[in-house]
Amino acid sequence: MDFTYSPKDLAFRDELRGWLAANLPQGWGETVFLPEDEDENAMFRLDWERKLYKGGWNGIAWPKDYGGRGATLVEQAIFAEEMARAKAPEGLNIIGRNLVATTLLHHGSDAQKARFLPKIISGEEVWCQGFSEPNAGSDLAAVRCQAVRDGDHFVVNGQKIWTSFAQYSQWCILLARTDPSAPKHKGISFLLVDMKTPGITIRPLRQISGECEFNETFFDDVRVPVENLVGELNGGWRIAMTTLAYERGPEDALGRQLVFRQELDQLLATAAKLQRGNRSAIEDGLLRQKLAKSLVGIEIMRLNCLRAFSKSLKGAPRGAEASMNKLYWSHVMQDMFDTAMEVLGPLAPLTAGDAHAVDGGRFQLGFLRSKAFTIYSGSSEIQRNIIAERVLGLPK
């Protein structure tokens, strides 16, 4: 066991610190923040991702062959810490970097890796995930969106829903039914779909928070070249499980942890300023305990990730344990946003537009968004089923 930083690690840290200081906008996190408008916000995050790439700081854990640094575990941990310290924004292409790339690295052909990976890491091509359908959510293997072979193409017809970032995406990973007569897990294929193909319609869906990050996506005779099939025909379920293991795994969680830690640091600073009776909110014993609980919870989230990483670096298979990671953080973080609302007290109802709103309404937004944590990437109930059956071995 070793958490110490070697001189090489410290040099890595200093290099990153220097780069961040030179590349984040002047006054970042103090007077300059992420744009409020959703589209501007997305474009800002995309620009930032491209800047990271140019500086050699995007997808640092990727193999060098595909433009990464092959960063060690300690370097990844340092990266997360430094990004949190600098309050750096999160890149936009999370699905591309964390899900698509990792899935292709496992299951893609050499040609697919060569074609797609460089443009993911460079931020040129943003990806979305077309898995869920109106009648296939938790029961994902029930997907009905069809792909029928026609010469050297598949013709796709059907509907996807809750497709995050579809409006900003050039490409989509799609789960489609290619054998309707086979048992449901055995008739699904994993396709890579160019979002510019004729026949794709995107309709934004408004979320709890008022934002429209996710969409309905319709496919109407959409032609997908057969070389965009990943793995084997009708072998898509196994590949989708790889995608989900990464979606629930420590890479994803470590990235989120840094964003959550920034929120909590801001919340602590706010609690120290907010008046509650004749003292500050942070001096209120009960609030202070709840804040401390979140602090401990978030730090353990990081430790969970580092433990999972260390195991996977030694070759432990990545599987149902990822569900433990996801179930843990989603609830810890929902609790933190509940606490945030309590800290705001009388000002909790005031959102961004009001003159008295605290910190530009960020905690209200975070609170509303946090409701999704226990739904997406597999709801908490589904994670519990997985843990009980596959980790603990309880009967179906």
Binding site: D2, F3, S280, Q289, A292, I300, S310, R384, I387, L394
Partner: protein, 371 residues
């Protein structure tokens, strides 16, 4: 960076687990610790592990003991054993050469028994301790008491945390010393005896003080070690109660089904598994921090672990009892032994609220925020 144990550490865990599986059954726990246990554990090296090599020990650290303490929790190894290891660790690290030479070889062999006296009726943490040594011509004199000292009656030496004037320090006192009386206490924990140690004008000399003079940093380091060890043991207790529950719900049938196939039950088990996994992350890191981190980070790591593991061992044990139904409430089954012990560990060496306050206080100071 590597947040995992090495091969030797896992092998050591297996050895101790195998030993405890036969040496300490539920039957033993109900009828008292088998006398051979100290000797059997000594043979594995657990008592010599923290002792420096030049003093005849193994020169290893708490990281090497982390999985061992987890096994102790799993098997409900009675509290005097961990107390002895922590006391020996403090002597190994802070003792004078004479103290180390006098005590550690016997301790390492399991022949000389140490125990530690920290808690008072008004204190489980150093800053709140009131027991005070007053200067005299010959040295110091102590009057007052410590409570919940694990099996003080069987100990050859007690490591006592107390004040010398304003400074905290650690002293070594035999229970047989003039002015010391022991009173066996009635406690929740049925797996060990605990004593109140009453000091009535007990004389201390410089030679009794660990390191020769009061050292507040040593007291805090020893307290942190004891709190982390409690967290590690509670992690093991949580893991064991999860295992017991999963085994039981996998066999018990009602409504013509194994109850573990009911989702309400599966989901409780899954939440327990997540809680145990996070206990491990927190407690293992605390063990590492005892060996390697600067005092501030050590304190933060230990307090995270003590608060989290306390809350979650309680949670896991409560769930396990519920999942056993009526039999879970019986004296016979023995889950209550875990319930009782966890409660004692939770209350010792700073409760969860105190440790959370230590975490947030330090965080706010590092952020230069008032409060």
């Amino acid at each position: 960076m590597d947040f995992d144990f090495n091969q030797e550490q896992y092998m050591f865990q297996d050895t101790v687990r195998d030993l405890l599986a036969s040496a300490l059954t539920m039957e033993h726990l109900r009828s008292g610790t088998p006398a051979e246990l100290w000797g059997q554990l000594a043979e594995t090296g657990v008592f010599a592990l923290l002792t420096r090599e030049e003093d005849g020990g193994l020169g290893l650290g708490y990281t090497d003991l982390a999985l061992i303490f987890e096994e102790f929790g799993r098997a409900l190894v009675p509290a005097p054993i961990a107390a002895a290891i922590v006391a020996g660790g403090a002597i190994a690290r802070f003792g004078t050469p004479e103290q180390r030479a006098q005590l550690l070889p016997g301790h390492g062999e399991g022949a000389l028994r140490l125990s530690s006296a920290f808690a008072e009726t008004v204190a489980t943490v150093p800053a709140a301790m009131t027991l005070t040594a007053r200067p005299t011509d010959a040295g110091w004199t102590v009057t007052g008491s410590k409570i919940l000292v694990p099996d003080a009656a069987a100990a050859d030496k007690l490591l006592v945390a107390l004040r010398f004037g304003d400074d905290l320090g650690l002293a070594l006192v035999e229970p047989s010393r003039a002015g010391v009386t022991l009173r066996e206490q009635d406690t929740l924990d049925l797996t060990a005896r605990y004593h109140e140690v009453i000091f009535d004008h007990v004389t201390l000399t410089a030679g009794d003080i660990v390191g020769g003079r009061p050292d507040p940093a040593a007291v805090v380091a020893c307290f942190d070690a004891a709190a982390a060890v409690a967290a590690l043991q509670m992690t093991g207790m949580a893991a064991r109660t999860l295992d017991e529950a999963v085994t039981y719900v996998g066999q018990r049938k009602q409504f013509d089904r194994v109850i573990g196939s009911f989702q309400a039950i599966k989901h409780r088990c899954a939440d327990m598994a997540v809680a145990v996994d996070a206990c491990r992350s927190a407690a293992y890191y605390a063990a590492w921090a005892l060996d390697e981190a600067a005092p501030d980070e050590r304190a933060r790591a230990v307090s995270m672990a003590k608060s989290w593991c306390g809350d979650n061992a309680r949670f896991t044990c409560n769930q396990a009892i519920q999942l056993h139904g009526g039999i879970g409430f019986t004296w016979e089954l023995g889950l209550h032994l875990f319930l009782r012990r966890i409660k004692c560990e939770e209350a010792s060496f700073g409760d969860a609220d105190w440790h959370r306050e230590r975490v947030i206080g330090a965080t706010l100071r590092s952020m230069e925020l008032a409060g």
